[in-house]
Amino acid sequence: MTATKEAAVTAQPTVHSGRSWTANVLKARESGIVLALIVLVAFTATQNSRFLSGQSIRDILLGTAILAVLAVGQAIVMITRNIDLSVGSVLGLSAFAVGTLMKDNPGLPVIVAILAGLGVGAACGLVNGVLVRFGQVPALVVTLGTLYAYRGVSYFWAGGQQINADKLPKSFLDFGTASILGVPWLVLIALLVLVAAGIVLRSYRAGRELYAMGSSPQAAQLAGIKVGRNTSAAFLVSGALAGLAGVLFAARFGTVDAAAGTGYELNVVAAAVVGGVAVFGGSGSVWGAGLGALLLTVIGSALAVLDINQFWQQAIVGALILLAIGADRLVAVRVAKALKKRDSHV
């Protein structure tokens, strides 16, 4: 009897799909965004050739760079089944802090500005992380609170004053517009952030643990993952990147007041969601979030070029989010069905 049982089991050959299912789904998702981008750019360009002029492309890339840096941080937090609503305020605080620093010390090199922005952001992020970790309060509530708190600090500090471009050192403003080999510095920095975050999330234990935590917090705890520490770290990174985005913002626009970056947080969440980062954690990639940021920026500037009322932009972004969520749901159902069928032996 035993012998026949063994035979029955071993007779079934091992099945391999060869490719990772999750990777395939992600690829489908990201190619969808790329496709939407191509259609959008092609259509807009036929309506108005100015859309593909050097200056227009430059503007889009610079805008994307700032949004993408924020979206990478947001994606990291969202993958752990949390959310960071304070990024717009952190950007504002960091931009104002760096602007003030550069205005008062015109001789400082740009790298100091970047480090200062990262530091301000990291401190804000750490506060978020500690509150979420030890307060046992949902991240949505904590960061909604700090959204107002950090903005309040900016207003208190600025007291209505504005930092204008003519007060900032030329080296800093040049950093906002200069290119190396034709690629603007801001874009290079955003790409660097994107690649580094992408590699860590994909190929390092720490990154994989973030996905695990978002996929099942209880299981992550049982697997011995330091959930609390990792959560704090995710918020710290998101804050630091928001701080970096503040530096980029100040350098690009040159004019900073206490309201800089107001309302950015929702654009950032939208970019991540459109890019396929699940609000419930555990799936998505920073590449997707970056593409989402690019898509939202391109839509904004396409509407301007096409002379469509800015009002429509918000409606279109909203429709896009619903479409993205609907598409995700559809793919999930399809995959579940396919998996069920593959499992059966009929």
Binding site: V15, S20, Y211, A212, S215, A219, S344, V346
Partner: protein, 505 residues
């Protein structure tokens, strides 16, 4: 290194541990030792405190009092990571997988093999998963996501996870509940190999034949207290049951003879692409019909389609001659059908609601007066059924999530039994239920049948199938391959049909 022999200082010792949740002492002053090279069974009724002991060994709970000793040295586990680092691997009662991640990554999570620059070595992960699955003799695609795996496959991944950790102490909390006989044998041969390599094993199960097969020593718990620890050959199964339950037990399969009445449930030509096909059967009032077969043969899927939870591609389901709308569990319930699902925690309970509310949920309309649910009628009904199933709880108003795993299952059973259905479908009626309640569930099923209920049962436990069913339908690869009346159903005939040895192969 000298390997300690059984009987000498234990590898891991539990000394006088106590753990309370609120006012209830889940575990009070329990002591026993796990020796290297020995498999140690921990038995007791649902809620006796077994899983609490497991969670203390795993570092999830800290004992309020008492100590854990590893190699004779007191240790304190502040977190599951500490326990893992100390070489303790745990297979939990409920699978704890990451649904979004691939199966292979689930296995190595937290211990990913690494290559240069600290990067994850994906090839090594794949090789590790394939090695483990080969050792366990199962075919699961390591690259597929864990989401959508059957319970049995989830449990196998859990086992692979524990094996992958190269543990010195392997703790298994009812790992076999969802597995077929073959998978259990595979698991046991691996466990024996580990034991011979000097690992200590703690094994929790409600199946005595498994305990006697694998273990050398047994500790019995009752109501959170330690009853006895003996070498297994010194105690009989009857003695163990008596100590667990604290009383003598009546027959385990109290099957009443019932004269079957009119046909109540008729299923014709039911099919679902890729899952099952040509499913036709009928059940009379007062009859108990069991679906037997290997896990994955499509039994659960058939009853889910009959009940209308899943869609079907073809076929007719009739209750008392009336055709049911496909893919509508609401219609099935209205026609008097009830389904107790296999995965009770996920499909059968609302964890944050109270016990009484959970029990009376499907009948909340019938119990309400003028549209309001009155606490009294709800409580009365809930008390009647939970007491009949001997559920252990503090107050009926407590959330279901606070109960132990086995007691949660009893609440699900109570919920559907309270509906007084015409057709009762039970998927694995006694999975994870202790021996005392098993007899009670069986008696209940039998008395429901005697009252004229048509009972359909899906079960992986052959003794239960043979002991309870009037007719056995054996499934293999999505089809009914044999229909055996009670007189012809034996362990051999059912297994032969299930494995494909009886049919023209």
């Amino acid at each position: 290194m000298t390997r300690p022999r059984p009987g000498r200082a234990p590898l891991l010792e539990v000394r006088g541990v106590t753990k309370s949740f609120g006012a209830v002492a889940a575990v009070a002053g329990v002591s026993f030792g796990l020796h290297a090279g020995e498999a140690h069974a921990l038995v007791g009724e649902n809620g006796a405190g077994k899983s609490t002991i497991v969670k203390m060994l795993a570092g999830v709970h800290k004992p309020d009092d008492g100590t854990l000793l590893l190699d004779g040295e007191p240790v304190e586990f502040g977190s599951p990571a500490d326990a893992k680092a100390a070489g303790i691997a745990v297979i939990y009662q409920e699978p704890t997988l990451f649904p979004d991640l691939s199966v292979e990554e689930n296995i190595v999570m937290g211990r990913h093999p690494r290559k240069s620059l600290g990067r994850i070595d994906r090839a090594a992960i794949r090789a590790e998963a394939e090695r483990l699955f080969a050792r366990l003799g199962v075919r699961i695609d390591p690259a597929r996501p864990a989401r959508g795996l059957s319970i049995a496959d989830q449990q196998i991944v859990e086992i692979a996870k524990a094996l992958s950790a190269d543990a010195r102490v392997l703790v298994m909390d009812e790992p076999t509940a969802a597995l077929t006989r073959i998978e259990v044998e595979r698991l046991f041969s691996v466990a024996r190999a580990l034991r011979q390599e000097g690992a200590a094993i703690m094994f929790i199960s409600h199946r005595f034949e498994e305990i006697t097969e694998l273990c050398q020593r047994v500790t019995i718990m009752r109501d959170g207290k330690h009853v006895s620890s003996d070498a297994l050959e010194d105690v009989t199964v009857g003695e163990m049951v008596k100590r667990m339950v604290g009383r003598d037990l009546d027959a385990l399969f109290p099957k009443q003879d019932v004269e079957p009445g009119a046909v109540v449930l008729e299923v014709e030509g039911l099919a679902r692409e890729g899952v099952f096909r040509d499913i036709s059967f009928s059940v009379r009032a007062g009859e108990i019909v069991a679906f037997a077969g290997l896990v994955g043969s499509g039994r659960s899927e058939v009853v889910q389609a009959v009940f209308g939870v899943d869609e079907r591609d073809a076929g007719i389901v009739k209750v008392s001659g009336k055709k049911l709308k496909p893919h509508s569990s609401r219609a099935a319930m209205a026609a008097g059908m009830a389904l107790v699902p296999e995965d009770r925690r996920q499909q059968g309970l609302i964890m944050d609601l109270s016990i009484e509310r959970n029990v009376t949920l499907p009948r909340s309309r019938a119990l309400s007066k003028l549209g309001f649910l009155t606490g009294a009628s709800e409580r009365q009904e809930a008390r009647r059924w939970t007491e009949r199933l001997r559920t252990k709880y503090r107050r009926l108003g407590d959330p279901v999530g606070t109960l132990s795993g086995g007691n949660q299952q009893k609440v699900v059973l109570a919920k559907w039994l309270a509906m007084a259905p015409k057709v009762l479908i039970v998927d694995e009626p006694t999975r994870g239920i202790d021996v005392g309640t098993k007899a009670e569930v069986h008696r209940l099923m039998s008395s429901l049948a005697a009252e004229g209920v048509a009972v359909v049962m899906v079960s992986s436990e052959l003794p239960e199938v043979l002991g309870m069913a009037d007719r056995v339908l054996v499934m293999r690869e999505g089809r009914i391959v044999a229909e055996l009346p009670r007189a012809e159903a034996t362990e051999d005939s059912v297994m032969f049909a299930a494995m494909g040895q009886g049919a023209a192969a």
